[in-house]
Amino acid sequence: MSLLVVLDHDRGTWSEANDEAMTAAHTLAADMGVQIDVALVGDGALDLSGQARAAGAAVVHVANHPMLTDFGPEAVGETIVQLIGAASPDAVMAVGTSRGNEILAQIAARMDLPFVANCMSVTPGDGAWSITRIQWGGSLLEDTTLVTDGPKLLTYGHHAVLAEAAPAPGAGIVEEFTPDLDGSLARTIVVDRDVQQAGVTLSTASVVVSGGRGVGSAEGFEQLEELADLLGGRVGCSRAVTNLGWRNHTDQVGQTGTRIAPEIYIATGISGAIQHWVGAMASKRILAINIDAEANMVVKADYAVIADLHKVVPAITAEIKRRKGL
């Protein structure tokens, strides 16, 4: 009787999402009354067995194969399907990162089983499981039932669970496993990487200064750039701005853009549509600058200034420079 957790890593570098996965797994496994086993696939996986044990894994399945050096959704999906065949877990879960959801979808497609993505809470039952999951990127929740004869397949929404230290380490028995992979699965394995300069990214910035349609033009963003630079932050934008071609999509905050979690989010000229809000709501504090006191962004913000952003933003920059003697 087990819950199998598919962990993620990049050539032996533990993914932060694994801590969330194991935290969620502890609750679910306790509710199911089963032990937690984990699956680690590919090069470098063996090096992570200690971490998996510390996080509470009873059995650490380490799957390796010459084809599994780099990520490939079909090869990894097929590997886990074979592991499920060998270990017969009652449920298989991951965190709903881009890879996590794709791997579980691959397993579900191969086994023709239902798969519930981005769960918030899961209540196991003898027949149907009752699940609450994320729709609309978090703007809406769905209560759903999961009924299947096979193992239950699910992911927890990324950041839906706050990672906590394991209550106790697991036995961490390492079981190595070599899947039988057809050479044709190489068709979806990474052939190259194009790694760019990291630096402060939108998702990790401690300050995000964002502009919406109210900024009025691509040039209007220069004021936001200046303020963001001064604060060591990044410029963000709304989808209206991306669609107008004023900013690149990499700057977009929201459901179909980036989720941010800065110390402070300065949202200027943004109305605060629900699809924008879900990307910004994890910010510690929100300051809205808008001419409309009724705008959703203003109503939901911690602080607001009801005025023209083109007057307020340069004034903030000037005040910072004045205080710093710049």
Binding site: T188, G233, I274
Partner: protein
């Protein structure tokens, strides 16, 4: 290259999403509808590829008869053929949707006497966001699929696809016929021209009646997440608020 794009009709809510009293759907009484954003970009990509290299774009949707609106829109921005799998308007679960789409694709391919060299999905649908329909369809068709794609470069017998990761891109070289899950940002979708709008009225709509059995995931009820009550502190109504703002920035240690 002949390309098929699967798009979904979704409501376009504003500042909050309301749910119907039975909890089974988004209350769209006062809302417009749109195409899920990732899929809008998938369509734009398909149109750009065929404009460059030749071929045709077919767009397929499963939904209520009103989804014809999204198909006509697709035709107005460059799709050549449009196919509707009509439903009674209720939400279909991912397994059921995937079975029906697969059958519709197989029927279209038989009529064309050849497979679509490329089938594009969105990475996830904007409303239900199941992250799986494309993967299920690809598997049923026995074709490769990679998700989260933000760059497509077709060549003979293969497509080079770029997947966004934290520090850059992963590159895949996928043999055709292939399936890809596309993300917004791969391109900037065009707006329809007057000429496109007129042409879209003439585009021939194929109806594909398909029955598929329900899968193991059943919708019980939709509801809004609990909202934290917020007490917005108004710092001012003109640029003199800058002083109070910089006080806050200093207090939280970002300035």
């Amino acid at each position: 290259m002949n390309i098929l794009v699967c798009v979904k009709r979704v409501p376009a809510p504003g500042s909050k999403i309301n749910v119907t009293s039975d909890g089974m759907a988004v209350d769209a009484a006062h809302l417009g509808f749109t195409t899920s954003p990732h899929e809008e970009c998938a369509l734009e990509e398909a149109v750009q590829i065929t404009e460059r290299d030749g071929g045709q774009v077919t767009v397929l949707t499963l939904g209520p008869v009103e989804a014809e609106e999204q198909l006509r829109y697709a035709a107005s921005v460059g799709a050549h053929k449009i196919i509707l799998v009509p439903t009674d308007g209720s939400a279909w679960d991912p397994q059921r949707t995937a079975s029906a789409l697969t059958e519709a694709i197989q029927t279209a391919e038989e009529a064309n006497n050849q497979p679509f060299e490329l089938i594009l999905f969105g990475n996830e649908s904007a409303d239900s966001g199941g992250f799986q329909v494309g993967v299920r369809v690809a598997h049923k068709l026995g074709r490769p699929i990679v998700n989260a794609i933000k760059g497509i470069d077709p060549s003979d017998c293969a497509v080079t696809a770029r997947r966004e990761i934290d520090a850059g891109f992963e590159v895949y070289n996928v043999p055709t016929p292939a399936v890809l899950g596309v993300k917004e940002g791969i391109n900037l979708p065009r707006y329809p021209t007057m000429k496109g709008r007129l042409a879209s009225k003439k585009a021939e709509l194929t109806n594909a009646e398909i029955t598929a059995k329900a899968g193991g995931q059943t919708l019980v009820r939709l509801h809004r997440p609990a909202e934290q009550a917020s007490n917005t502190e108004i710092l001012g109504t003109d640029e003199s608020a800058a002083v109070a703002i910089v006080d806050i920035l200093e207090e939280i240690g970002v300035c």
